[in-house]
């Protein structure tokens, strides 16, 4: 039958000649190829000791940012939790008391802020949804652990280190 696309190519299987049937030349050329690899530089990156360089827009562990005065930017609006397709984020809001102005930027803040790292798919939608520029996925690879509960990261692990301390 004629080919519709005209792209059909008739392949011919040539019978092997004597040297091809004799195995040995092919084996020798194969050995030469593997020997070339023997002296190549290994491509392995010994991970915990050496780290591959991340790209500019790599999305790793989340961090909750502080503003220029060291106050937490997050106002617990819940947009990140709403935008999260994996429903990994939960939070509880609380009202800022007097004298806490240096701790929290807005009148409302997240008293509890938890991300379940087993649910998170690192899509970055929380980062895009945040109106306060409070959350960024600019961290490292999430560490492995033994228990499921240890993958629920609270504010102790998420919030950036305070300034000048």
């Amino acid at each position: 039958m004629e080919s519709l696309s005209n792209k059909k190519k008739q392949l011919k299987v040539k019978p092997l000649n004597f040297w091809e049937r004799a195995y040995l030349p092919a084996i020798v050329s194969g050995l030469a190829i593997t020997m070339k690899h023997f002296f190549k530089k290994p491509v392995t990156i010994a991970y915990p000791d050496v780290k591959r360089e991340f790209s500019e827009n790599y999305r790793g562990l989340h961090s909750l940012k502080r503003d220029e005065n060291g106050a937490e930017r997050c106002t617990a609006c819940g947009l990140c939790a709403l935008s999260c397709p994996a429903e990994a984020i939960t939070m509880q809001a609380a009202e800022r008391q007097k004298g806490e102005e240096n701790l929290y930027r807005e009148e409302k803040y997240a008293a509890v802020y938890e991300i379940n790292m087993l649910r998170c798919i690192f899509c970055g939608l929380c980062e895009e949804a945040c109106p306060k520029e409070a959350i960024y996925l600019d961290g490292d690879i999430v560490q492995s652990d033994y228990l499921r509960k240890d993958f629920i990261y609270g504010k102790d692990k998420l919030v950036e280190a305070p300034l000048n301390q």
């Binding site: 040995l24 084996i27 194969g30 050995l31 190829i33 593997t34 190549k40 290994p42 392995t44």
Partner: protein, 343 residues
Amino acid sequence: MELADIAIKFGLIIIIFLISLVVAMYSTYAERKIAAFFQDRIGPNRAGPFGILQPLADGAKMFMKEEIIPTNATPFLFIVGPSLAILTACIGSAVIPWGQDLVIGGKVIPLQVTDINVGILYIFGVVSLGVYGVMIGGWASNNKYSLLGAIRAASQNISYEISMGLSIIALLLVTGTLSLGEIAQQQHGWHWNVIYQPVGFILFLVCAFAETNRTPFDLPECETELVGGYHTEYSSMKLGFYLFAEYINMFISSAVMATLYWGGYNYPGMDWVTAHVGPVIGPLIGTAVFFVKIFGFIFFFMWVRWTIPRFRYDQLMDLGWKILIPLAIANIVVTGIVITLFN
């Protein structure tokens, strides 16, 4: 035989035994490292510097593992299998000449446990016993995959032993003796048998790969078809013995190949070296050269493993019966004609 001679022989046996065990142990490490290098990887590097303690860690792991004897297995034969495998692997080294005779204080110390005049036949006997370990283990497991692997091992070894024997006959026409010690002596300097018997050497090499169940002839433990082959049901150090036996076999067959075809402990210019460094250091240098050859062959075994894929079973049989045996017979005929014409 004096008491001193017996003590020397005993010491030699222990040294050779230890050397073959240590070489086998570090062959596992070398295999993993070399495999890694061929695949552009690093290989084991956690246990000690460069992972040098990896074999010890592996051994400790093997001993710690739970020892399982399946309910429907034959317990006695199940234990005999790996024991036989490692026993036959170890006794092959008895007839290999490890070096020239040492002369210490007027006393001649031969570096060969026993130079029996049928050394090659002894090696053949031991090699063909080796398959019993695999066969018994596969049978005793009461598992169809193990049995299939064992049957494959048996039929493969029988097929390739024929062409191995035939390739040796051509060598015997050249050397005129069955004693490995004499064969090694005849190859003094650069008169290595591989120059006179290149086809015979290639045949022997291919058969050695098949006899040691190394890739491309590792069908007895073909993972894709037989789970683990004859040692599917084995665990703990009994599995370790099977794997260990394979590496000792590799060491011994490398030593046999080096002795038969690559001059054993001989190297060009050995007389000059021996004359200059004395009758003790000279033979020891020869022994070192012998070990370099052995390690070269072991490296070649591993090199081939990461180059050539496994044969299909019918291809294996085709190669053994239709190519290697006719080639070996042709080699005998040609060798015989040449010897008759030129002697």
